[in-house]
Protein backbone atom coordinates (compact mmCIF):
# COMPACT_ATOMS: atom_id res chain seq x y z
CA UNK A 1 0.00 0.00 0.00
CA UNK A 2 1.43 3.36 -0.93
CA UNK A 3 -0.25 5.44 1.73
CA UNK A 4 -1.98 5.40 5.07
CA UNK A 5 -5.44 5.92 3.65
CA UNK A 6 -5.17 2.96 1.28
CA UNK A 7 -3.85 0.61 3.93
CA UNK A 8 -6.58 1.56 6.41
CA UNK A 9 -9.21 1.15 3.71
CA UNK A 10 -7.72 -2.20 2.73
CA UNK A 11 -7.80 -3.39 6.34
CA UNK A 12 -11.43 -2.29 6.69
CA UNK A 13 -12.42 -3.91 3.39
CA UNK A 14 -10.87 -7.19 4.51
CA UNK A 15 -12.51 -7.13 7.93
CA UNK A 16 -15.91 -6.20 6.53
CA UNK A 17 -15.67 -8.95 3.99
CA UNK A 18 -14.84 -11.53 6.67
CA UNK A 19 -17.81 -10.24 8.65
CA UNK A 20 -20.16 -10.52 5.65
CA UNK A 21 -19.00 -14.05 4.94
CA UNK A 22 -19.17 -15.30 8.54
CA UNK A 23 -22.53 -13.63 8.97
CA UNK A 24 -23.94 -15.59 6.00
CA UNK A 25 -22.48 -18.76 7.49
CA UNK A 26 -24.10 -18.05 10.85
CA UNK A 27 -27.50 -17.61 9.21
CA UNK A 28 -27.52 -21.34 8.55
CA UNK A 29 -25.33 -22.38 11.51
CA UNK A 30 -26.72 -20.17 14.29
CA UNK A 31 -25.29 -22.33 17.08
CA UNK A 32 -21.65 -22.43 16.02
CA UNK A 33 -20.09 -20.86 19.12
CA UNK A 34 -16.56 -20.79 17.73
CA UNK A 35 -17.63 -18.82 14.66
CA UNK A 36 -19.84 -16.48 16.70
CA UNK A 37 -16.77 -15.64 18.76
CA UNK A 38 -14.63 -15.08 15.66
CA UNK A 39 -17.38 -12.96 14.10
CA UNK A 40 -17.61 -10.77 17.19
CA UNK A 41 -13.85 -10.27 17.25
CA UNK A 42 -13.91 -9.12 13.63
CA UNK A 43 -16.84 -6.77 14.20
CA UNK A 44 -15.00 -5.20 17.10
CA UNK A 45 -11.78 -4.67 15.15
CA UNK A 46 -13.69 -3.39 12.10
CA UNK A 47 -15.40 -0.83 14.31
CA UNK A 48 -12.04 0.51 15.42
CA UNK A 49 -10.66 0.64 11.88
CA UNK A 50 -13.87 2.27 10.64
CA UNK A 51 -13.52 4.94 13.30
CA UNK A 52 -9.90 5.54 12.31
CA UNK A 53 -10.78 5.89 8.63
CA UNK A 54 -13.65 8.29 9.29
CA UNK A 55 -11.60 10.38 11.70
CA UNK A 56 -8.75 10.79 9.21
CA UNK A 57 -10.40 10.76 5.80
CA UNK A 58 -14.14 10.81 5.14
CA UNK A 59 -17.46 9.58 6.49
CA UNK A 60 -18.40 6.11 5.28
CA UNK A 61 -22.14 5.91 5.90
CA UNK A 62 -24.88 8.10 4.49
CA UNK A 63 -26.65 8.60 7.81
CA UNK A 64 -24.70 6.72 10.46
CA UNK A 65 -21.49 8.69 10.37
CA UNK A 66 -21.01 12.08 11.97
CA UNK A 67 -20.07 14.77 9.48
CA UNK A 68 -16.98 16.88 9.97
CA UNK A 69 -17.00 20.68 9.84
CA UNK A 70 -17.33 20.36 6.06
CA UNK A 71 -20.04 18.09 4.73
CA UNK A 72 -17.96 18.12 1.55
CA UNK A 73 -16.05 15.13 2.90
CA UNK A 74 -19.18 13.18 2.09
CA UNK A 75 -20.30 14.77 -1.17
CA UNK A 76 -16.88 15.18 -2.74
CA UNK A 77 -14.85 12.80 -4.84
CA UNK A 78 -13.58 10.19 -4.83
CA UNK A 79 -16.64 7.93 -4.95
CA UNK A 80 -16.14 4.18 -4.68
CA UNK A 81 -16.71 3.51 -8.39
CA UNK A 82 -13.80 5.70 -9.46
CA UNK A 83 -10.24 4.48 -9.95
CA UNK A 84 -9.04 7.15 -7.58
CA UNK A 85 -11.01 5.76 -4.66
CA UNK A 86 -9.54 2.28 -4.96
CA UNK A 87 -6.13 0.73 -4.44
CA UNK A 88 -4.11 -2.21 -5.68
CA UNK A 89 -3.98 -5.24 -3.47
CA UNK A 90 -0.45 -6.36 -2.74
CA UNK A 91 0.85 -9.88 -2.30
CA UNK A 92 -1.86 -11.50 -4.39
CA UNK A 93 -1.45 -15.11 -5.59
Amino acid sequence: MNNKRDSILNRLTMLDFMAVDLHLYLNTHPNDKEVIEKYNEIIKEAEEVRYEYEKNFAPLCSFRSASSEHHFNWINNPWPWSRKFNYYIEGEE
Binding site: L24, N27, T28, H29, A58, W79, P80, W81, R83, I89
Partner: protein, 210 residues
Amino acid sequence: MWVYEKKLEFPVKIKKTNPALAKCILTQYGGPDGELAASLRYLSQRFTTVTPEAKATLNDIGTEELAHLEMIGSIVMQLSEDADMQEIKNQGFDSYYVDHGLGIYPASASGVPFTAAYLQSKGDPITDLYEDMAAEQKARSTYEYLLNLTDDPDVAEPLKFLREREIVHFQRFGEALRTVQDYLDSERCFVIPKPNFMNNDKNCGCKKCK
Protein backbone atom coordinates in the same frame (compact mmCIF):
# COMPACT_ATOMS: atom_id res chain seq x y z
CA MET B 1 -34.14 -0.27 5.25
CA TRP B 2 -30.61 -0.03 3.98
CA VAL B 3 -27.39 1.69 4.94
CA TYR B 4 -25.00 2.80 2.20
CA GLU B 5 -21.30 2.60 2.83
CA LYS B 6 -18.97 4.70 0.70
CA LYS B 7 -16.61 1.92 -0.35
CA LEU B 8 -16.67 -1.19 -2.55
CA GLU B 9 -16.93 -4.74 -1.22
CA PHE B 10 -13.72 -5.48 -3.19
CA PRO B 11 -11.54 -2.80 -4.85
CA VAL B 12 -11.85 -2.04 -8.58
CA LYS B 13 -8.94 -0.12 -10.11
CA ILE B 14 -8.49 -0.68 -13.84
CA LYS B 15 -5.79 1.09 -15.84
CA LYS B 16 -6.47 -0.18 -19.36
CA THR B 17 -9.45 0.95 -21.46
CA ASN B 18 -11.30 -1.95 -23.08
CA PRO B 19 -14.82 -1.12 -24.31
CA ALA B 20 -15.27 -4.56 -25.91
CA LEU B 21 -14.79 -6.22 -22.54
CA ALA B 22 -16.96 -3.58 -20.86
CA LYS B 23 -19.85 -4.54 -23.12
CA CYS B 24 -19.50 -8.20 -22.14
CA ILE B 25 -19.18 -7.56 -18.40
CA LEU B 26 -22.26 -5.31 -18.52
CA THR B 27 -24.28 -8.53 -18.72
CA GLN B 28 -23.59 -9.07 -15.01
CA TYR B 29 -25.16 -5.66 -14.39
CA GLY B 30 -28.46 -6.08 -16.22
CA GLY B 31 -28.32 -9.43 -18.01
CA PRO B 32 -30.27 -12.68 -17.42
CA ASP B 33 -27.87 -14.01 -14.74
CA GLY B 34 -26.67 -10.64 -13.50
CA GLU B 35 -26.43 -9.08 -10.06
CA LEU B 36 -29.53 -6.89 -10.41
CA ALA B 37 -31.71 -9.92 -11.17
CA ALA B 38 -30.08 -11.79 -8.28
CA SER B 39 -30.70 -9.02 -5.79
CA LEU B 40 -34.34 -8.44 -6.82
CA ARG B 41 -35.01 -12.18 -6.84
CA TYR B 42 -33.81 -12.78 -3.28
CA LEU B 43 -35.13 -9.56 -1.80
CA SER B 44 -38.57 -10.32 -3.29
CA GLN B 45 -38.65 -13.99 -2.31
CA ARG B 46 -37.72 -13.29 1.33
CA PHE B 47 -41.22 -11.93 2.07
CA THR B 48 -42.85 -15.34 1.73
CA THR B 49 -40.22 -17.84 2.80
CA VAL B 50 -40.74 -19.84 5.98
CA THR B 51 -37.73 -20.66 8.18
CA PRO B 52 -35.63 -18.13 10.10
CA GLU B 53 -32.53 -19.44 8.29
CA ALA B 54 -34.08 -18.96 4.84
CA LYS B 55 -35.39 -15.46 5.64
CA ALA B 56 -32.00 -14.28 6.86
CA THR B 57 -30.17 -15.94 3.97
CA LEU B 58 -32.39 -14.36 1.30
CA ASN B 59 -32.28 -10.98 3.02
CA ASP B 60 -28.51 -10.91 3.45
CA ILE B 61 -27.47 -12.43 0.12
CA GLY B 62 -29.95 -10.11 -1.66
CA THR B 63 -28.17 -7.25 0.08
CA GLU B 64 -24.69 -8.48 -0.83
CA GLU B 65 -25.76 -8.71 -4.50
CA LEU B 66 -26.32 -4.94 -4.47
CA ALA B 67 -22.67 -4.51 -3.51
CA HIS B 68 -21.77 -6.76 -6.45
CA LEU B 69 -23.95 -4.66 -8.75
CA GLU B 70 -21.92 -1.64 -7.68
CA MET B 71 -18.65 -3.47 -8.40
CA ILE B 72 -19.82 -4.48 -11.88
CA GLY B 73 -20.94 -0.94 -12.67
CA SER B 74 -17.52 0.29 -11.53
CA ILE B 75 -15.72 -2.21 -13.77
CA VAL B 76 -17.80 -1.30 -16.83
CA MET B 77 -17.37 2.41 -16.21
CA GLN B 78 -13.60 2.20 -15.70
CA LEU B 79 -13.16 0.05 -18.81
CA SER B 80 -15.09 2.47 -21.02
CA GLU B 81 -14.79 6.00 -19.59
CA ASP B 82 -11.60 6.93 -21.49
CA ALA B 83 -12.50 5.26 -24.79
CA ASP B 84 -12.09 7.43 -27.88
CA MET B 85 -14.31 7.26 -30.97
CA GLN B 86 -11.86 4.97 -32.73
CA GLU B 87 -11.90 2.43 -29.89
CA ILE B 88 -15.66 2.69 -29.59
CA LYS B 89 -16.05 1.93 -33.31
CA ASN B 90 -13.34 -0.73 -33.63
CA GLN B 91 -14.35 -2.64 -30.51
CA GLY B 92 -18.04 -2.99 -31.28
CA PHE B 93 -19.09 -0.57 -28.55
CA ASP B 94 -20.78 1.70 -31.11
CA SER B 95 -24.18 -0.02 -30.93
CA TYR B 96 -24.24 0.50 -27.15
CA TYR B 97 -22.86 4.01 -27.52
CA VAL B 98 -25.71 5.26 -29.74
CA ASP B 99 -28.28 4.16 -27.17
CA HIS B 100 -26.51 5.04 -23.90
CA GLY B 101 -23.32 6.96 -24.62
CA LEU B 102 -20.92 6.01 -21.85
CA GLY B 103 -23.75 5.67 -19.33
CA ILE B 104 -24.20 2.49 -17.33
CA TYR B 105 -27.50 0.93 -18.37
CA PRO B 106 -28.87 -2.40 -17.13
CA ALA B 107 -28.77 -4.57 -20.24
CA SER B 108 -27.30 -7.88 -21.32
CA ALA B 109 -24.10 -8.24 -23.35
CA SER B 110 -26.20 -8.52 -26.48
CA GLY B 111 -28.06 -5.30 -25.64
CA VAL B 112 -31.36 -6.69 -24.32
CA PRO B 113 -32.64 -4.30 -21.62
CA PHE B 114 -33.10 -5.66 -18.11
CA THR B 115 -36.44 -7.34 -17.48
CA ALA B 116 -38.06 -8.80 -14.35
CA ALA B 117 -38.75 -11.87 -16.50
CA TYR B 118 -35.20 -12.92 -15.59
CA LEU B 119 -36.40 -13.80 -12.11
CA GLN B 120 -39.22 -15.54 -10.35
CA SER B 121 -40.88 -15.18 -6.97
CA LYS B 122 -43.17 -18.18 -6.86
CA GLY B 123 -44.53 -18.00 -3.33
CA ASP B 124 -43.33 -21.56 -2.77
CA PRO B 125 -40.21 -21.58 -0.57
CA ILE B 126 -38.85 -24.81 -2.01
CA THR B 127 -39.36 -23.75 -5.62
CA ASP B 128 -37.78 -20.38 -4.89
CA LEU B 129 -34.68 -21.82 -3.25
CA TYR B 130 -34.14 -24.27 -6.10
CA GLU B 131 -34.31 -21.33 -8.48
CA ASP B 132 -31.80 -19.46 -6.32
CA MET B 133 -29.32 -22.33 -6.38
CA ALA B 134 -29.63 -22.56 -10.15
CA ALA B 135 -29.21 -18.79 -10.43
CA GLU B 136 -25.95 -18.90 -8.46
CA GLN B 137 -24.62 -21.62 -10.76
CA LYS B 138 -25.63 -19.63 -13.87
CA ALA B 139 -23.85 -16.58 -12.49
CA ARG B 140 -20.77 -18.68 -11.74
CA SER B 141 -20.72 -19.95 -15.34
CA THR B 142 -21.05 -16.40 -16.61
CA TYR B 143 -18.09 -15.25 -14.53
CA GLU B 144 -16.05 -18.16 -15.87
CA TYR B 145 -16.91 -17.20 -19.47
CA LEU B 146 -15.99 -13.60 -18.68
CA LEU B 147 -12.70 -14.73 -17.16
CA ASN B 148 -11.98 -16.67 -20.38
CA LEU B 149 -12.33 -13.36 -22.25
CA THR B 150 -10.14 -11.39 -19.82
CA ASP B 151 -6.36 -11.18 -19.79
CA ASP B 152 -6.12 -8.02 -17.70
CA PRO B 153 -5.41 -8.89 -14.04
CA ASP B 154 -7.01 -5.59 -12.92
CA VAL B 155 -10.30 -6.94 -14.29
CA ALA B 156 -9.75 -10.62 -13.49
CA GLU B 157 -9.20 -10.12 -9.73
CA PRO B 158 -12.63 -8.63 -8.98
CA LEU B 159 -14.27 -11.11 -11.38
CA LYS B 160 -12.60 -14.00 -9.51
CA PHE B 161 -13.84 -12.58 -6.23
CA LEU B 162 -17.39 -12.37 -7.60
CA ARG B 163 -17.20 -15.91 -8.97
CA GLU B 164 -16.21 -17.23 -5.55
CA ARG B 165 -19.14 -15.45 -3.94
CA GLU B 166 -21.53 -17.31 -6.27
CA ILE B 167 -20.14 -20.59 -4.95
CA VAL B 168 -20.58 -19.52 -1.32
CA HIS B 169 -24.11 -18.28 -2.02
CA PHE B 170 -24.99 -21.58 -3.68
CA GLN B 171 -23.81 -23.40 -0.57
CA ARG B 172 -25.83 -21.15 1.77
CA PHE B 173 -29.00 -21.52 -0.31
CA GLY B 174 -28.54 -25.29 -0.20
CA GLU B 175 -28.38 -25.14 3.61
CA ALA B 176 -31.41 -22.85 3.73
CA LEU B 177 -33.30 -25.27 1.49
CA ARG B 178 -32.53 -28.07 3.94
CA THR B 179 -34.07 -26.10 6.80
CA VAL B 180 -37.20 -25.49 4.71
CA GLN B 181 -37.47 -29.17 3.76
CA ASP B 182 -37.01 -30.27 7.39
CA TYR B 183 -39.59 -27.75 8.54
CA LEU B 184 -42.21 -28.81 6.02
CA ASP B 185 -41.48 -32.45 6.74
CA SER B 186 -41.79 -32.15 10.49
CA GLU B 187 -45.18 -30.52 10.25
CA ARG B 188 -46.41 -33.37 8.05
CA CYS B 189 -48.60 -30.84 6.39
CA PHE B 190 -48.57 -28.52 3.42
CA VAL B 191 -48.06 -25.20 5.16
CA ILE B 192 -47.90 -23.63 1.73
CA PRO B 193 -51.50 -22.67 0.94
CA LYS B 194 -52.97 -25.02 -1.62
CA PRO B 195 -54.79 -23.65 -4.63
CA ASN B 196 -58.50 -23.25 -3.88
CA PHE B 197 -59.64 -26.18 -5.99
CA MET B 198 -57.52 -28.50 -3.84
CA ASN B 199 -58.83 -27.12 -0.58
CA ASN B 200 -62.05 -29.11 -0.19
CA ASP B 201 -60.79 -30.71 2.98
CA LYS B 202 -59.82 -27.84 5.29
CA ASN B 203 -58.36 -30.14 7.95
CA CYS B 204 -55.24 -31.74 6.57
CA GLY B 205 -54.49 -33.61 9.80
CA CYS B 206 -51.40 -31.74 10.90
CA LYS B 207 -50.70 -30.26 14.33
CA LYS B 208 -51.80 -26.82 13.21
CA CYS B 209 -55.22 -27.96 11.97
CA LYS B 210 -56.06 -29.92 15.11
